[in-house]
């Protein structure tokens, strides 16, 4: 099994677990082979990841944004943001960790003038 982000799904993959929307309504049942239309439905109902049968090459699952940045910029961004996050639970909260990761990425984009 593998949890795959919706934007990495390809037709032909098989659902390991049923997909429900946020209210619990069933969108697609377990064991169904995914087609293009399903992926569109997942995206429009805010499904960000689904559970897929079998092994999926890890390469496909890896983060698509590789932060290309020199050491100094990365250090500067992280240092500044660590101060901003000083009173959060950065060590224990996975959600906070992800917010931090996204902030660093955004900060680097800004420093690079993107």
């Amino acid at each position: 099994m593998a949890i795959i982000p919706t934007n990495k799904l390809t037709p032909g993959m098989v659902l390991k677990r049923a997909v429900n929307d946020i209210t619990g309504r069933l969108l697609l049942g377990e064991g169904v082979e995914i087609c293009h239309k399903h992926i569109t439905i997942f995206k429009s109902w805010g499904i960000t990841e689904v559970d897929i049968e079998g092994e999926v090459e890890t390469e496909a699952v890896e983060e698509d944004v590789v932060i290309q940045v020199d050491e100094e910029t990365l250090y500067k961004a992280k240092e500044e943001l660590q101060e901003l996050f000083a009173f959060t639970d950065l060590n224990n909260s996975p959600v906070t960790k992800e917010i931090f990761r996204l902030s660093v990425q955004h900060k680097i984009d800004r420093l690079n003038g993107a």
Binding site: L84, T88, I99
Partner: protein, 284 residues
């Protein structure tokens, strides 16, 4: 409630009053006999408001498939209660025009507020909430108590801010330690005095402790999370130097996977600037 807090609000009701057009709109919305046309007519009396609502409704944030050209169509599509909240969201900035900007610049303050509103609205959209404008408005109003405090008790606020500059701490905590109340109390009380709907009041009053919102926990949780994300994106600021700690209960209440966060970031960034341009009065 402390005497200081009570007098802070009662003094200010005379100074900071809601636009009369909002009050009439509110009465019309609460009156079962009023029609979509009646409500459209009230809005149309204010050209600036009409333009702001139409611009917003036609912006990518709303993503309606066809152009909304008249206010009555906007009322029909967005809904009467939701139009009322949207009117508040796009008019509130004018209520606080002319506050001395010694402690904070208005643009920075409203940028944070609008970012919070936009993200709260995106959260509501993903959750398929029927009242997305309430989330938007609650986000825009969430730190309003701070404006009252900056305007009416600048010396105390300055002390608190310099205390934090010396020794890092969360502003809303120091507010309570020094004064016995914080900006969420002031904001909640102001909204109550203004007789604004309970959902807005609860979300504003509880955005730092969303588990205390009993009737509207999702609204409060969304504003709590949106506030944190607006901070994390460093979009404006209302005086708080550090990001408040995330309430895991509030996050759980939204029933999002962690993988939803990149979408909230991306869309928040995408829409904040447009919302700013529409809502903030242009500099003369």
């Amino acid at each position: 409630m402390s005497i200081q807090l009570a007098s802070l609000i009662s003094d200010n009701l005379k100074i900071f009053s809601l636009p009369s057009i909002f009050l009439r709109l509110n009465n019309a919305v609460n009156d079962l006999r009023s029609s979509v046309t009646d409500i459209g007519n009230i809005i149309s009396e204010d050209q600036g408001l009409t333009a702001r609502i139409l611009k917003l409704a036609n912006s990518p944030l709303y993503g309606f498939p066809s152009k909304i050209e008249t206010i009555s169509k906007a009322v029909l599509i967005i809904g009467t209660k939701q139009i009322r909240d949207l009117t508040l969201a796009t008019s509130i900035i004018r209520v606080f025009e002319g506050i001395p900007e010694n402690l904070i610049t208005m643009e920075t303050f409203w940028r944070h507020s609008i970012a919070c509103g936009v993200i709260a609205r995106i959260i509501a959209g993903y959750r398929r909430e029927p009242n997305v404008e309430t989330f938007f408005t609650a986000g825009i109003l969430h730190d309003i108590g701070r404006l009252i405090m900056y305007a009416k008790m600048p010396a105390e606020c300055r002390d608190i801010l310099s205390q934090i500059a010396k020794q890092p701490q969360l502003l809303f905590k120091v507010e309570r330690e020094s004064l016995g109340f914080n900006h969420t109390d002031v904001g909640g009380l102001l909204l109550k005095q203004w007789k604004l709907p309970q959902d807005l009041m609860e979300a504003v009053a509880n955005h730092h402790n969303p588990d205390k919102a009993l009737q509207y926990p999702v609204e409060a949780a969304a504003v709590h999370v949106a506030d944190i994300l607006a901070h994390a994106l460093q979009l404006g600021n209302s005086g708080e130097k550090y990001i408040p700690r995330l309430s895991e209960e509030a996050w759980a209440k939204l029933s999002f996977q962690t993988s939803m966060l990149p979408f909230l970031f991306k869309q928040g960034l995408q829409h904040v600037d447009i919302a700013m341009q529409i809502i903030l009065p242009s500099k003369k």
